[in-house]
Amino acid sequence: MSATEANIPLGEAAWELPSRGKVGMGSLIVAESAIFTIFVVAYIFYIGKSLSGPTPREVLRVPIVGTICLLSSSFTMHWAIAALRKGRSGAFRAFWFLTFLLGAIFIGGTAIEWHHLIYQENFTIQTNLFGTTYYSLVGLHASHVIVGLIGLAVIMILAVLGKIRPEHTERCEVFSLYWHFVDAVWVVVFTTVYIVGR
């Protein structure tokens, strides 16, 4: 009990700080962006440097459906959060489920694409530099989608159990930042792999 401790005045009322959830997620996104940047740089650097076939043009099929699904899942996610904020839990659950479904369709599309490449085209991560960079970049993104799907599923179960209420809007919003990020990264990956690299 010192004089100094006792003399510290009480906090003032009007004192607003950034939400630590959003700051934390934002920071995580910065770190993740750096990881993706390195993988994208490696991809671009190795375009056309493979010593043997196949080339991207020979084997890659552009995943139009998956891309449309993943990108629209950002909108359904946004609407889900907006519904939760207004306390419309039915709409929240519906949009949330739709988001999950769209993400799942995307990852299913990737699975089919990989299955085709591996078993029909005999094209693996070991085949050449294109295989190395393709599977690692697309796989890195896909693993992020899977993590996102797990998060979506957990919140969906909680919502079905009635545990998600309007006061949890901010937490869901923080999670949605991650999902939007995964979507945005897909734009970059798609451009790199299917437009620039093909």
């Binding site: 003032e12 700080l17 934390g24 995580l28 940047t37 190795y46 190395t132």
Partner: protein, 556 residues
Amino acid sequence: MAASTDSLPRFAARKNALAVIYEWLGTADHKKIGLMYIVYALVFLVVMGVEAVLMRIQLAHANSSFLSPEVFNRLFTLHGTTGVFFVGMPILFGFGNYLVPLMIGARDMAYPRLNAFSFWMTAFGGLLLYASFFAGNSVAQAGIAPDVGWFAYAPLTATAFSPGHSTDYWNLALLVAGVGSISGGVNFIATILGLRCPGMTLSRMPLLVWMNLVMGGLVLVTISPLTAAQLMLLADRYLGAHFFDPQAGGSVVMWMHFFWIFGHPEVYVLIIPCFAFISEIVPVFSRKAIFGYPAMVAATTSIGFVSLGVWAHHLFTIGMPSYGNAFFVLTTMVVAVPTGIKIFNWLATMWGGRIRFATPMLFAVGFLFQFLIGGLTGIMLATAPFDWQLANSYFVVAHFHYVIVGGILFSIFAAFYYWFPKMTGRLLNETLGKWNFWILLVGFHLTFDTMYVPGLLGMPRRIYTYEAGRGWESWNLITSIGVIFQGVAVLIFVYNMVWSYLRGPLAGNDPWDAWTLEWATTSPPPEYNFAQTPAVRSRRPLWDIKHPEDPDSKYE
């Protein structure tokens, strides 16, 4: 529950060692985690010190056969890797963990459990690295530590050249520790931006907090590239990918780029928290407010940004187009400008102050001079033609040890002598502290001043021995003798810590008559840090309280 209230004290007194261990293992308190980081790092400091001693015995004279070449390779790999990832980072994260919430008047970090996760990931990484001694294997032997150097250049790390698992231990240990560092960085940023006490605007934050914020941001964009590159290496080694495989068209130079995109800013991840210590200690022991606070913040931030664009000065000898060389020479030299601003600000803070040369200040002044010289030799190496001559020589080794030991280690000692009273409630012994300082100073200069010379005379780094008659012997002998002094200084420090922890004079809340919030609470602080959330009106809240007639808030 049968325990009644009157039996509680007896119960607490009987709290046995197991319960204490359990309490520490399961803690999410930022102070306990901070202390665990620090103790953990000190253990590894001793480990890396022993590795250095072994190498210096080997190099003390020509044609020595004290160590085999293979063992020497493992020793310098472990020495460097341990020093950066399991001594430097944890000790600075530890101080940051302990001090940042206290200095911003918060109860804890933003994510206490994530904080514990970060620590245990780092701890696990270190143990994993050293587990290679027992479990790693190579061509014919079992129990082999990694031997690919701390920057693990490709293609040496390819399975063809590093069979067995020793390289995987290096890779996985750093991956795990990297995850811990990144989550730690996230936590620092969220804490500093989200948990400041009322009145603590960004422009009133203590410089230590500012610099830890920049450090946190740098960790995010620095460690992640290494993580990415290590994932690629993992794919190469385990899945048969070809990222760094020249036989499939892969580029080994790409690993160099990726590693140094991490490696150079990493130096600033280490040095910026040290700037932070100095920025707190120099004003308190000069009895003046820091000179040029906004310039310090601006300089720190710009160092953070510029340091991201200088990495290829580690690749001058690999061969780059001339505009590439020119770019990286220039950006590297630009770093010297904000760094110079900082040094001038610290000097200007001391100028005209009533300086008290207590041990923390001695170490801080030692830091200033040695960091300056270390930085200047860095500028010499940043000049591409000079680097062509001296890259991979002992001149480089001397340069970065000058910064790491003369700069980082000295400022860490300053921080220990300054904040030990806050952490333990007892002051470190001043006499022992002065012996610690002077002997370390002598040892440091014996070792590292002389180390520049064999570098200039052409001695390459990482050789396990050398021939007589090249003019390197006496320099190497003096270098090795200096290590004895440094070892003695560290022993004095350890003795001082143990003795003072048990017998040292009680510190009280505020032994240095300082101005930042951590000194407003008890030493050591209670679990909740502050009984009431403090509110601040200036950069020096305790000055305002001690001098109500002339508070800083009048001038800000």
